[in-house]
């Protein structure tokens, strides 16, 4: 009971509920299917990125290059499809983006697992390298007329309808990818030995090595997997936004995504984190950044509110942990 109360998941869920209640009080139209669909849509790309960040955090690393990698993947893929195979359907384009992402992830993996460099520094470096390479050698121009396949995908709706008050709502099929990524990652992390090895490495890399876990191989695979997720997130982002922007501001979502994952209970020290928590963290960030106006708060205050939520979401558990520690120590 008290352990449940002390968990980040519970706390974040509580804040989400409270936020929704205030939202409903401030605006009767707030609790509606259109709002829900808007939020779900806004959470797709962040959610996939966050799952990737979670896996890296669990493995004891940190990855600040995912959004940069995602942008390279989305741009390279779009450019390729546009110039080489304009008729390509979205499934192949998505696969291509995931492969590009995985290859870039493998670069991170080689530097980290192969050369034994610290993850933060490597990904800080590749964040610049990926982006610099893209803009210097691939292109710096935005593509706003996406190839047909990608545009079709963004118009393909999983749910579509009209609310009682006549407002139209829809949820794109892209959402299914988020669900798929979550299920797959859950299976890998909790049902395969590889996943358990990821947790083990995050718990103690030296112990993992000593017990015979192929630490470098596992680390490498983690970064390849996260790269593939990043590539997928990137191409979905481009297709939903209907623009492939090599200087996409998705880049700036890296820290908020990290914040969402940690809000959800993953520890920066590694070895701890859950998918439920991650999804809750993403939900909270999405909820706040998309609905302040509905609460009557001018959007100039958005960053203040998100800032306070991050402090609250990390502060309460930290404070609780400290109290527990003082009690037990």
């Amino acid at each position: 009971m008290s352990s449940l109360l002390g968990r980040n998941e519970t706390l974040v869920a509580g804040v989400i509920l409270a936020f929704c209640m205030v939202g409903a009080l401030a605006d009767p139209g707030f609790l509606s299917i259109p709002t829900l669909m808007d939020l779900l849509r806004a959470g797709i790309v962040l959610g996939i990125l966050a799952v990737g960040v979670l896996v890296v955090l669990v493995s004891g690393g940190i990855d600040v290059s995912t959004t940069s990698l995602a942008i390279v993947a989305l741009y390279v893929t779009t450019l390729f499809v546009q110039n080489v195979t304009p008729e390509m359907g979205w499934p192949l384009a998505f696969l291509l983006a995931a492969v590009v992402g995985a290859l870039l992830g493998a670069i991170n993996g080689l530097l980290i697992a192969g050369l034994g460099l610290p993850t933060l520094i490597v990904t800080l470096g590749t964040l610049s390298v990926f982006r610099g390479f893209l803009l210097t050698f691939v292109g710096s121009r935005l593509i706003s007329n996406l190839p047909g396949g990608l545009r079709d995908f963004s118009r393909a709706m999983m749910i579509r309808g009209t609310n009682a008050d006549g407002s139209f709502y829809s949820l794109p099929w892209a959402f299914a990818f988020l669900v798929g990524v979550v299920v797959l990652t859950w299976f890998l992390l909790y049902r395969t030995m590889l996943g358990r090895q990821v947790f083990a490495i995050g718990g103690s890399m030296e112990s993992a090595r000593r017990i015979g876990i192929p630490v470098r191989r596992v680390q490498f695979l983690v970064f390849v997997y996260v790269g593939a997720l990043g590539g997928l997130a990137g191409i979905i982002h481009a297709s939903l936004a209907r623009v492939a922007n090599p200087q996409d501001l998705l880049l700036n979502q890296q820290l908020p995504v990290l914040a969402a994952v940690v809000l959800g209970g993953a520890r920066l020290e590694g070895g701890t984190g859950t998918l439920t928590g991650t999804l809750l963290g993403v939900s909270l960030i999405v909820l706040v950044s998309n609905s302040l106006i509905a609460l009557g708060i001018p959007n100039t205050f958005q960053s203040i509110v998100i800032g306070f939520l991050i402090l609250l979401g990390t502060g309460l558990p930290a404070w609780q942990a400290r109290r527990a520690q003082r009690r037990a120590a």
Binding site: G29, L142, S144, N145, S167, N245, Q247, L249, P298
Partner: protein, 315 residues
Amino acid sequence: QEAAEGAAAEGSSGPYDIATVVKIAGIQWFNRMEEGVKQFAADTGNNAFQVGPAQADPQQQAALIEDMIAQGVDAIAVVPMSPEALEPVLGRAQEAGIVVVSHEAASQQNVSYDIEAFKNEDFGATLMENLAQCMGGEGEYAVFVGSLTSQTHNQWVDGAIAYQQANYPNMTLVGDKNETFDDQQQAYAAAQEVLRAHPNIKGFQGSASTDVAGIGLAIEERGMEDQSCVVGTSLPSIAGQYIETGAVDMIGFWDPSLAGYVMNSVAQMVLNGEEVTSGMDLGQTGYESVTLDGKVIYGQAWVEVNKDNLADYPF
């Protein structure tokens, strides 16, 4: 190239190094401008090129200008994200003997000339007239700017609001000016917020070329193409796909490639010691007979595009 430098140092005429520094690299508006810059280089044999920061950040733009000073270019043509923020660095450029010409910044002090395609308040009023027509003269509308410090954007929006207050009392502006930093996705996010906060909204006026595209996407996602009116500054290559579906109703613009060309021409004239006077023909469409007001050079043409004449403008 070496010869160019030597020549510049001696103050003789060309070929010159002229850097065009734009607000942000990569968006179609400035890609189109770059075509004009390249055309100028090809036509005149000067070393004219264009650079722009990765993000629409006044600081990054200032740093780029600093780089150009260090490179020792002969002239800088700049489209300021925020004119006031650039004054010191442009002042340093002038101290270093570099000629500075600006565009979309009528208040800029440390320049030889500023070039405006037209009177910006009038352009804003015209956008509003189109919006009001579409909205039937009544209902709520919102306005978007690239930045609260981007001079023309604010002139258009202020001009539009004044025009609406004078002519369409049944229309109401909701919210503050929404800032989008010349980014389509920020415009999309802001449009979504506006739609959520003001469910009855009918009109949108955009300023940055990417604004109407972001607004248009939000409109399409809600299936509101027919119930809403979206107008703003943009290019067919950016807004075309939304004009086709009716998510965007009308755009206005001036051809950035011509503006880029003219900035470079004026810079070259200044380098050659020539002056610009009212009535002068700067050799490009819309700048055949310019008006000079202080340091500001005005051209006189803008283009209005809707579904019907979209095909006439292939850029």
